[in-house]
Amino acid sequence: MRRIITAAAVAFVLAYPTVHAIEVKAQVAPALPNSRIEIAYVQPTNRSYQPIYDRLKKRQVLEELQRFLTPLRLSRKLSMKVDQCGATTSPYKSQGPVTICYELIDQIEKIAANVDASLRSSAIAGAFIMVVLHEVSHAVFEIQQVPVWGRMEDAADRLAALVMLQFDEVLALRTIFGTTIFFNASDKTWTGSDFADVSSPEEQRYYNYLCIAYGGAPITFQGLVTPDQNGQQTLPRHRAARCASEYRQVLKAFNLRIMPFVDPNSLVTVRSMQWLLPTDIK
Amino acid sequence: MKAWKSAAVILASLGAAFAGSSHAQQKQNPTFELAMCNLSDFQGMFVALRHKRDVQKWAVDGWYAIPDGGCTLIGSFLRDTIYYVAESNDGGHWTAADTDKTAAEECVDPDKTFRRASGGSCAADQISARFRLITVPANLSRLTFTLTGRK
């Protein structure tokens, strides 16, 4: 896909110099981990993924995710694992588990290698979080039998984007930034029957995330509608005008159909915490 | 890139042959074709015309939709003048100023198609509009008139 976006994407992050300067310290999370969520780190058979396995395990990524999802009152157990998949994704199927693939993390890291060193950790963390939230969204939709209008893949993206915006500005910027880097890196050209796929083209997903971001936090993400020297905006005018209502729509859907099984007090605790972005996955 | 002869040379050899698509030049043709274009920032443009029905009588009719950013051929009319007003869905107006002495005032139906003879007082659901004059050059078989304007 076209790369003109990258410069602008980087620009809005650089406008917030605190993003890469923050060295987020480890915090003991007071929230109890969600007992309905089971986690597993599966040893890769391919030795080249062993370092990824080690890093994730050391960083306790899944444990942290368990704590993050504490407010969710699931009606059934949810399994989450990191594993070698034989592909970058292992789509969520009914009855789970949610699988994050070493191949995907490897892909994210390779993409991030092209990113300026000061922004690299944000790129990795952001993309990783996007993938995790997307997959967990699928699981939540299925376990709780949430009514979903629209394409399921887009719904998972929109819910993930919504979640990204419920915390502080820094987390929103880093995750959206990482997301844009990830999609921007795709050089796949979609033609003909490619469009029959249940997933949406990377460039389309890119705009979906940007729109929810701008719609939910127009001040934080005003860089997306700031014209460059050619008068072009990263998020085109015709779409930007709709983003506030797109955000409100997902928020409303969340409040109507997901909030009923979220513990509100636990949610406040989770939102008040400073979540460790995996600053050092590498 | 090859150097092109200056435009003046072509103009000289062209004459008026390609002013429009009619190849046979009829200087005495009593009618001309009118095309109108909307190159303004306004959208949803409609035009009403005051035109000669015959030597002494004038007719007023509307509306003719002009595509956003494009042109349409409206029809053939008697020479050598025609009058227009235009309005757009988003608030654009093209009418003659009060000080324009060449203007013609006519009644129009603002919301639906209409056709009437010139003159007379306006009915209850009509409004009065000042039509702007267009003079059609004698040697032009088709006039393309472009509406412009910024928002």
């Binding site: 629209g150 394409r151 389309q204 | 042959a17 429009g20 198609t113």
Partner: protein
Amino acid sequence: MVAPDRHKIIRAYAARSFMKQIRSALRLRKDVMKLHLRFAAFALACAAVSDQPTFAQTSSELNNSLITFSYSPPKSAKYLPMMDRLKSFQILEQLSQFLSPLRLPHRLALEVRECGFVNAQFVTWPGADPAWRIELCYEFIQAIERVGPKQGEQSEFTYEDVVVGSVVGVLLHEGGHAVFNMLNVPVFGREEDAADEMSTFIALQFSKDVALTIVRGYSYLAKKWFAFGAPLYSDEHGTGLQRYYNTLCVAYGADPVLFKDFVDKGDLPKHRAANCASEYEQIKLAFKETVLPFVDQNLMKKVQAKEWLKLTPTQVTALRQQQQKQQQTFSFAACNLSSISGVYLALTVRDVSDPQKWQVHGWFPLPDEGCNYIGTFYGDKLFYFAFSGNNVWSAPDTDRTASKQCVDTVHAFDEAAGDKCKPGQVAVNFRRWVIGPAETGFTLKLHD
């Protein structure tokens, strides 16, 4: 005729556009009718349209006093016959009956009107009465009539099936937006896809004939019209092909026997087909939980029991007449919007008088900062070349869609395309322009 950015058509076909206040919209519609389906009135209306079957008794019960409709007289005379045609098809009467089982929180207006753009939309206009409106533009109907299979064209569908199916599919899509908005429905995915889903889902709740007509018509529209041109990924709509495959998939998921052909003919790839049953179940669950509670079950049963979309012979004839009228021609104008003056244009086109032959015509002068309406030509494409002094608008050598033709550098000329260059002529690359399937004309704009 209409020659804006192609994608605007697709964008404009957006149900949920909240339009700015416009002068004409504020005027209360004096011709808004309340649909009082008293038996006598309805029977009279039926009698006026010669061979309408009188199912008045069933229909008089499909009454929702919150739904009103109007056929607004067009501003352009050219749409008067279309208004009469739509009235004779009773398109709005039928739509209002069809929507009657919905327990709406407030009034909803259905309107056909001349909009000044090509669209069908659900809008909320605070100044209008009622504010919630499903609007169908005459311009949109015209576009659909044009997009349908041409007379003599090889097609697996009849013209009337495509036109009826796509118009109904579009109206159900707008109805979807109306439902999402009015009933506060939670929508996690993209709303445009959700509206497509609603349309196809509803179609599948009726007879096989109705389902086939709507699914085929709507998917034809997506593939033929919405998929034209380069995809616009930033748009809130999916690409035309995405919408095409979505429609086929939902239908196949609901009834893999009825829609077996989609997979057998390769229209719907197997890797997607495998997922379609669960996609249909997802939509069914969404409808059941978020919309069905607002549906009057008795009225719904009556609506489902009625026969829909059965065209009388007169109606089929009327539609076929419209098909005949669709010319394989387009109108063309060109504007010089550049800072360069004295621009001349040459064209490689097929003249209406001799449609099989490509001709190269030059030169058409373009007024500075103005336009020249050039004429009407045959087919769906032309090739152009323009210049002024050393400024040239042409195609690069790498453009494989370009057409290399000879032009006379000094004089006016009129040659058969493909001829060798005569003395005084030079070969240049004409750039191709293909007109969209719904457009009747286009305007070329030359910029710096």
